[in-house]
Amino acid sequence: MSYKLQFAELLPYWNVLLYGLVFTIVLTIVSTVVGIAVGTAGAAARTFGPGWLGRIVAVYVELIRNTPFIVQLFFIFFGLPALGLKLSETTAAFLAMVINLGAYSTEIIRAGIEAVPKGHIEAGLSLAMSKWEVLRHIVLNQAFRKIYPALSSQIIIVMLGSAVVSQISAEDLTYAANYIASRNFRNFEVYLLVALAYLLLAMLTRSLLRALGRVIFKAR
């Protein structure tokens, strides 16, 4: 191999990379919070809601889980304007991420809810707790404790999947990499650096979520 890697050529672009990194982090945090809220509502609708609502949620979940994220993104960004709903790249990226994580977390949280023994719900109701109180203090409390590891890995998968939003020119970390590569043609160097940044981000997210889990679900 006669080619010499030249990482120094990336230095002048540190601010571009930093901006992309922050964008990716914010995108992940926002879509995690909103996506899990969507997932909780979806899971509750599927298990406790009326039949028709449950079926609509089921179709949503299966449609999202069985199509690639990039197609969902293109559909939202290029397809929806044809119906008169025009979105900026950033809005489309956030929306696609929320819709995607919402579907996956619906399925994960539903599994958690179904693992809660029926007797617990009946016990709660017989103690004159309202339906909402039972859902909040008995069902969701236990469900989240059980599915927390699965949800954590889904968050990391979604974070890595967010690299695709660069394709509609939302300015995330991958977009920064593409931008730099198109400027100085150090393709391999920049993609290696950014890949390692993603790796670090994934490892950090994992340990952060684990620590957070220990605080939220303190052993009783």
């Binding site: 199509t67 690639p68 197609v71 293109f74 559909f75 290029f78 967010s162 695709v164 890949a195 790796l199």
Partner: protein, 216 residues
């Protein structure tokens, strides 16, 4: 000017779907073979082999598939070899698939009770023989459902090959959209075709999983 009818769009997409299927099959089978080798290394209890697989898995599970595609596409070119999108996509998807399959299968191997290892080792079976005749036949039973489930991820993963210029379903969709300016129709059809490929597999995986729970 050339006009595209609905059937033109659909038939072109279906032609491109063949490449999605071919790429998925190659990635899945090559990834499976590499994954099996890695599985032997990962469970071998030989420290350097285990460390290598750990780092390998960490890298391929911890970085975006898109980055891996870029790295293969631009990385191999540094050696002076001409890289086609086809080659980069096959390699990246194979390695990516193998990392996930190894982790899935390792979980299945570890689910086999320790007594099976001890019994087979007291029968003087070597490590390879233990795996071949005792552990893998039992582990493969539990492995079917998650493996089929993961094949859905492989099919969805091939969509990213469109970004480095490999013409499969997603790329064909983008090209047809550029030619027809009917994004809503084109991307709906693309999504629908992916759904028709993936949903039967998801459904099948769920069914096998359910059957396994009854047996337990």
């Amino acid at each position: 000017m050339l006009q595209f009818s609905f059937w033109d769009i659909l038939s072109n997409l279906l032609i491109a779907t063949q490449w999605t299927i071919v790429l998925s099959l190659i990635a899945f089978f090559c990834g499976g073979i590499v994954g099996l080798v890695l599985l032997f290394m990962r469970t071998s209890r030989i420290a350097p082999l285990e460390w290598f697989t750990k780092i390998y898995i960490e890298f391929f599970q911890g970085t975006p598939l898109l980055m891996q595609l870029f790295l293969f596409f631009f990385g191999i070119a540094l050696f002076g070899v001409e890289v086609s999108p086809w080659m980069a996509a096959t390699l990246a998807l194979t390695f990516w698939t193998s990392a996930f399959l190894t982790e899935i299968w390792r979980g299945c191997v570890e689910a086999i009770p320790k007594g099976q290892w001890e019994a087979s080792s007291s029968l003087a079976l070597s490590y390879i023989e233990q795996m071949r005749y005792v552990i893998l036949p039992q582990a493969s039973r539990i492995a079917v459902a998650p493996t089929v489930g993961f094949s859905v991820q492989v099919i969805k993963g091939t969509a990213l090959a469109s970004i480095i210029g490999f013409v499969e379903l997603t790329k064909a969709g983008t090209m047809l959209n550029n030619a027809t300016f009917r994004p809503f129709l084109v991307y709906s059809l693309v999504a629908l075709i992916y759904f028709c490929l993936c949903f039967p597999l998801s459904w099948w995986a769920k069914k096998i999983e359910g059957r396994l729970n009854v047996a337990r």
